[in-house]
Structures are given as C-alpha cells and as structure tokens.
Amino acid sequence: MPLAPEAVLERIRPIFRDVLDLPSFDVMPSDNASTVEGWDSLAHINLVTNIEQEFGIRFALGELAELKNVGEMIDLILKKLAQRP
C-alpha cells in the first residue's frame, strides 16, 4: 500500500530533530531552510543522506535544488518510492 504524505512526515520528523539537535521540533510541510534555525548547508547534507537511508532511495543530481519546502520534498519521496521496483 502506498504511504500517505502524513506517514512520510512522521518518519522524517525524528531525522530533523536529530540532525538539527532540536529535541522538540516538529517540522511542517511549509518549512524550508530559511524558516528553520540551524538548517545550513552542512545540516542539509546530513538531512538528505539520512532521509535517503531511511527510505532506501537516492535523489538524483539537481532534483532537490528545485524544491521549495518540506512538503515538496515529501511529494518527491513518495514519487521515488512509487518508482521503486
């Protein structure tokens, strides 16, 4: 059964808390690097690689650059999961 966007959000929230070292932070679909404290370039690499690992997917070069916020990233994750064999 395909995952719901909410389920993906639930699975990436602990990654954001861990990487940004914000124990009670609940990332929202509307968030992006400019709205979240500490989401700098190094944190970004850690977020991306942890998310790749969590879902067993790989983002292609350039795919992430076009995203505007976490909600769009969730959509991309869902698309990648659906494409998996």
Binding site: S41, I45, N46, T49, R58, F59, A60, L61
Partner: protein, 553 residues
C-alpha cells in the same frame, strides 16, 4: 562475450595447473590452437609475501619469484602458439591489512607488495605487445568506490566521501592517532573451541577438531590462526582464555595443522573459572592494563559477561562465523602500529634466521629440474585417526586417479587400519608453494606372500609430481617388512579412470591377466629386497605429523 557478439570455444586447464599446462606439458593446449589465453589468478594464490623488515633487495627478489612462473608461461605460449594474445589479470587488494595504516607506509606490507607486483606486471605489459593486463585491482576498487564515492554528492556538496566512507576514514585516522599516543591494544586474548579451531577439543578429541586444508571450515580456522600468528610476529602478545581442562587445551595445538603453538602464547589460562577472572589474571601476569586487551570469543554469552564485568577490555562482536573473525578484528584497528619497534625488529630477525629464503628463477632445463625446484616433502604413513575423515572423503570422491573406485566408509577404513593383515598408507605432500594436504591413499591386504592392492587413489591436484613413486617406495618398504614377495595390483575401468589404465605398467608391474574386454587387468611386481631401488627422486619423505597411533605397528 555473447552480448559483445563473440562466441568463444573454451579450453580450460585443470585447477592450479597453468604452469604445467603451458610450460611442461603443453601438447593439449597447443593442439587446441587458442587465439587467446587468459591467466586467471588472485592475490589469494600469492605465497611469498615479504617478511617484516625485508630489505629492498629481498622484496625485489620476492616480486621476481612470484612473477617467474607467469613469465615462463607467457614465454612458452609466445614460442609455441603463434599470434596468440595473452591476458593476465593483476592482483586485487588483500582483504585485510594486518599492519593497519602502516600497510600504506612501509615497503614490506602486503598492500605495498601487491601494488609493486602490479607495477611489475604493468612493466611487462609495456614491453610485451602480446600481453594484456586485466585490471582486477582496479575492478575490485570499483566495487568499493561505489560505497566510498558518490558523484552526485561530490557535485552537489563537494563531499569526497559518502557519509559511510567518511565514518570509515575517521575510524582509520583515529586508530592512527591512538597509535601515535601509544593507545593501541597490546594483547589478543583468544578462546579456543570454535574460535581457534572448529569443534570442542574435550569432546571431539584431536582427530575431530577442524583445522588444516581438508574442509572449508578447517581452512577458515587455519586462516584465522595465520592471522593471529601474523599479529604475534609483529609484536602483539597472544593469550589463551578457555573453559577447558588445561591438558586438553594444550593438546589442540599439537594438531599437525595447527599454525599456532603453545609457545606463541604469553599467557595460557585454561580452566573452569569465569572468563573475566582469567582475563584479569592475564593482565596481571603480563603486567599490562586491562585497556590493552582485546578479547575474541565466538560465544555471545562470554562476550557479554566480559563486556559487563570488565568494560575496559575491548570485546568485538565477532559473531560465530570464523571466516569473518580476521576482518572484524582488522577493521576495528585495535592493533594499529605507528611504527615497528626495535623489539619487533629483533623478533622478526629471529624469525628470518629460522626461515629459509628460496629462489626459483630462470627457466628449467627439464621436468626433473622443475620437480626439484618444487622442494617437495611428503609424509607417508599408515592411516592415523586424525586423518580418517579426510581419507574417507578422498576415497569416496576421487574418480580419475583411482585404480579400483572402491568406496569405503570411515568406520570400514578405521577397521582396516586396525587389522593386522592390512597395509594402509596415506600421503601428504607439501611444496614450496604451500601444503597440498593429504592427497593420496593406498591400502592392501596381505594374502599369503602377496600384498593385494585394494585401493590406490590420488587427488588430481598433485598429478605428475611423482607422488605415486614415493607411495610405491613406501609400499614396497612396508611389504618387505611384512615378508611379502610380490605386489598384486588391479585396475578396474570406470567411466572416469582411463588416466590410470597404464598406472601399474608405468611403475614396472607385469600384466598377468586381463578380462576379455580389457575392463579389468591384473598386475604383479616381484619384490626382491636386494634389487629394489627407490623410484622417487624429487620428494623428500619427511614425517611432518604424528606417527601412526592406529593401534598397530
């Protein structure tokens, strides 16, 4: 190949016989008229790694010696098969690095040696237009690089390592820094049963523990012992901590295939006390801190106990698969040297004084010279309990060099060994490239004044080594001791044993009868103590292992 539009016809030489098939006995290969010959080898086939602290000249000699058989084989092919392209793969990295980061910094490390061999192969390739190198070293690294490097991460973030690789690299750097500050571990504390050998010495006895080259499991335990021996030779202390009777524990190291000896251990604790108490005693005895110890045990309960009682002791999660032990210890970087000390050097020099350097360069004038260069030593003895498993295995799987193809169970063979009217012999053969293990079996019954040979079989891996002559010499010697006047041999044709149809004729037997279709022949050799001259010229009979303890003789 088919995907590339090429449909090959293959000729495959026997396992581990490229040299013989190309240089010594090339008729079949020449008849096949190959367009290409591929020499498929592996670092696992390398034998002569440089000793610790070897001089540059010695290392050069080691490289020449490793490449010499290949050079001769290439040359033979160039001379006998016109326009044949030769493909040779170079050597992949060794799967672990006993010297840690020092492998990259010293000339005698295994990694350096493999690199230099590959450079030498590259030189050969440039000077011989018919020789092509398959870059196995690079292909192996490709597989590792898929985990080490992500082009997308490089282009996006200039990350030269994936996060996984960055952690691995950090572990290597921290091991080196710990070594600089003298924090490397000094002593490996080893369990025995199912850690240094397969099985339980107290239950299974010396005959049944797994060590040697006869089974995959035995080979893996031997390889782990070799890894531990390598640590010992560069100055890491070894200690035993085993739940065993001391006598049983020591017995295990008397196994003929045990690489480690009781003398290799600086502390030996085999008793029934809890292991944490023994490990504390080992630290006191060796006068080193608990934090200098690494404890290796296949039993998760013992590991958990030591981890909880002695948190200073490093206890790697070894698992229970011996083939992974060396890699797990190695990757943890416990024994990282920052340099080898003068003490290590002394130890290594003692080691060299005992070791004999061997050279085998230049082409051989004839086959005898080649056989002589192999420096073969055989151990030919009556069946002994420690070898019965292997004897049964060989008896039941050998098809080609097998005169009668009679199959016997281990129990039957054990019974023959104990019977007075039976003559039993096994043969082990080692040469300068290593130990071939137990490779041949001969068994006969004394009937009146004759020894009737019931079994004569040999593993194909030692064909054309004159091992059958050495066996004949020993059989004649034994038969004469038992008062026999002749040997009677029988050949029974099977689907696969044509190669030995003339075995007895080649040994000088006379054919005395033959079935009408020739499928069974009977042969005799009269024995005369005064006139029998030993036939074997190139194999030294050397009792490497235990003398028979089979209850007779």
């Amino acid at each position: 190949m088919l995907n590339r539009g090429i449909e090959p016809v293959f000729y495959e030489s026997d396992y581990n016989r490229f040299y013989e098939d190309a240089v010594v006995d090339a008729a079949k290969l020449v008849d096949f008229r190959p367009d290409l010959v591929y020499f498929c080898t592996s670092s696992q086939n390398l034998r002569g790694f440089p000793r610790l602290m070897a001089s540059p000249d010695e290392i050069e000699a080691d490289i020449r010696r490793e490449l010499s058989p290949f050079r001769q084989a290439w040359e033979a092919i160039c001379n006998t098969i016109p326009a044949c392209t030769i493909i040779q793969n170079n050597f992949e990295p060794w799967p672990w690095r006993t010297l840690g980061n020092l492998e990259g910094g010293c000339a005698w490390g295994v990694s350096s040696f493999v690199n230099r061999l590959n450079a030498a192969l590259g030189d050969e390739c440039r000077s011989n237009p018919r020789l092509k190198i398959v870059d196995a070293h690079g292909l192996a690294a490709d597989l590792g690089m898929q985990r080490w490097f992500s082009p997308a991460q490089w282009f996006s973030y200039k990350m030269a390592q994936t996060p996984e690789a960055a952690a691995y690299l950090a572990n290597g750097v921290s091991a080196l820094i710990a070594a600089v500050y003298g924090r490397s571990k000094k002593c490996l504390v080893l369990d025995l049963d199912n850690t240094l050998w397969g099985g339980v010495i107290g239950d299974d006895g010396l005959d049944r523990i797994q060590l040697g080259r006869e089974t995959a499991l035995a080979e893996a335990y031997t390889a782990f012992q070799l890894y531990c021996k390598g640590l010992r030779e560069r100055g890491i202390l070894l200690a035993v901590c085993s739940k065993n009777d001391e006598q049983n524990a020591r017995l295990g190291f008397k196994h003929p295939d045990s690489v480690l000896r009781v003398e290799d251990f600086s502390s030996f604790r085999a008793n029934w006390s809890p292991k944490n108490e023994n490990i504390e005693a080992i630290a006191r005895e060796l006068n080193i801190g608990l934090d200098s110890l690494v404890f290796a045990d296949d039993n998760p309960a013992e590991r958990a106990l030591v981890r909880s009682q002695l948190p200073q002791v490093a206890v790697p999660e070894l698992g229970q698969d011996v083939s992974c032990f060396a890699r797990i210890l190695d990757e943890a970087g416990y024994f990282e040297p920052s340099a080898l000390s003068s003490e290590d050097l002394e130890r290594s020099q003692q080691y060299t004084e005992n070791a004999v350097r061997r050279q085998a360069e230049g082409a051989f004038q004839n086959y005898g010279e080649y056989l002589a260069s192999l420096e073969m030593e055989a151990e030919i003895q009556p069946f002994s309990p420690v070898y019965l498993d292997r004897i049964a295995q060989l008896t039941n799987k050998t098809n080609q060099f097998n005169l009668t193809t009679r199959r016997y169970t281990r129990a039957e063979l054990e019974d023959f060994a104990a019977r007075d009217e039976c003559v039993t012999l096994y043969g082990r053969l080692s040469d300068r490239f290593g130990d071939n293990g137990l490779v041949t079996v001969v068994m006969g019954f004394i009937e009146g004044s004759a020894v009737e040979i019931d079994l004569w079989l040999m593993s194909c891996r030692v064909l054309k080594r004159d091992m059958e002559l050495a066996m004949l010499d020993k059989l004649v010697e034994t038969a004469l001791e038992r008062g026999a006047k002749k040997l009677v041999g029988r050949y029974i044709r099977s689907a696969k044993n044509d190669m030995v149809a003339e075995h007895y004729r080649n040994l000088g037997f006379r054919c005395v009868s033959s079935s009408p279709d020739g499928s069974e022949t009977l042969w005799e050799l009269a024995l005369d103590e005064l006139h029998y001259r030993p036939r074997s010229r190139y194999i030294k009979d050397h009792a490497l292992g235990p003398r028979s303890s089979a209850g007779k003789n």
